[in-house]
Amino acid sequence: MIPALDILLIVALLWLARQALVARDLFKGVVLFIAFGLLLALAWVRLRAPDIALAEAAIGSGLTGALFLSTLGRLRRMEREAGQAEPPPEDGRRGGWTGGFLTAAGTVLVTALLGWAVWALPAGAPGLGDAVQARLGESGVSHRVTAVLLNFRAYDTLLEVGVLLVAIVAVWAVARADFPFVTRNAEAGSVPPQQTALVNLLVPVMLVVAGYLLWIGATAPGGAFQAGAVLGGAGVLLLLSRPHWAVLPERRWMRTGLAAGLLVFLGVGLALVIAGRRLLEYPAGWAGALILLIEAAVTLSIGLTLTLLFLGGRPAAGDPAPTMTHTNQQP
């Protein structure tokens, strides 16, 4: 039964990927991408990489899907404001033979190179698993992935957290917040009660799950990125359900929160340098506590980053009243 499961997964993934690429209708492409993310998470489970499955389920499918829907809303609004009629969406290729041939050739070439790289690996090479296992006791955590991410290769993770901050700075630099969702029902003047009930139920659960994933990361798959993604999901739900929050002007705590993860991470590293150790070389006995401190701060920053990315740009400065162009025009 296991081979049947795996073959079904592979065939479905390839088919979904192709359909998502050739879809001329962007909304269809987005939905196919969401479905692709869900199946990809199942594939990671089958590859026995539950850490990546968690991240893929939360970020790859859930939050990226919501971000794409947000982008699509902005695109539609821009088209409407420009007075363009929506082009009739039809599936199929448009690039002609040359484009199709080049794409196919490139894909085949990259696949062949990847296959060759895997084939060229020395057979039966142990990898670094044994080395990690041997020093696991000193890492402060008992889960190997967390030990690598936050201790043995903490420098890489530090830079990744920096990349996230750069991403939101770049988005804020090029765009103003323009929330493409109407957060009130035009007739009732409020969020529909079903949505309020759902969000009131889900957000506390998501906060607990985010805390759980952060804590369990020390001993099992989980950690800051997965916890931050769940936190970001809760933030997106709140933005969609609290009309006045989606138009909140920029506040100092937003910038502080966005930078908190990187600041704490760097702060710990520099404090260790001042204490005469190397960057992020945790003293014995302190590793577990320092990792938890860093991960907690990074979780908050990732959650806030993903939530604010959903607004599509930098929140308006100062008084919110004159900038509420789209959400306060209901009668």
């Binding site: 039964m1 196919l32 994933l213 993604a229």
Partner: protein, 96 residues
């Protein structure tokens, strides 16, 4: 037990493939999105069956995240339906 659970998981994946046809053919946005939402639910079920088949209890956490994040996409879609009524088309039922 493990054989039965795996068989059921394969069956669920087959229903998922049937759902993909609906995502691709539509015709309305809601058809596509509801099928994708169904994938989330089916994914949770497949994960729980894999736990029964000895996949390890860590998959329960993956299933939890599946369920929570699928709701985010669902709510975002519902709000979008009201936000972007196409001229001459119904609110959440616009043809894509």
């Amino acid at each position: 037990m493990s054989g039965f659970a795996l068989g059921a998981a394969v069956l669920l994946l087959l229903t998922l493939v049937a759902g993909m046809v609906r995502v691709v053919r539509g015709p309305t946005a809601a058809d596509r999105m509801l099928a994708a939402q169904l994938f989330g639910t089916t994914g949770v079920a497949v994960l729980l069956l894999l736990v029964l088949a000895g996949g390890g209890s860590v998959l329960l956490d993956v299933a939890l995240v599946f369920a929570l994040l699928a709701a985010v996409v669902g709510v975002a879609f519902a709000r979008r339906g009201i936000a972007a009524p196409q001229p001459g088309r119904g609110g959440g039922h616009e043809r894509e």
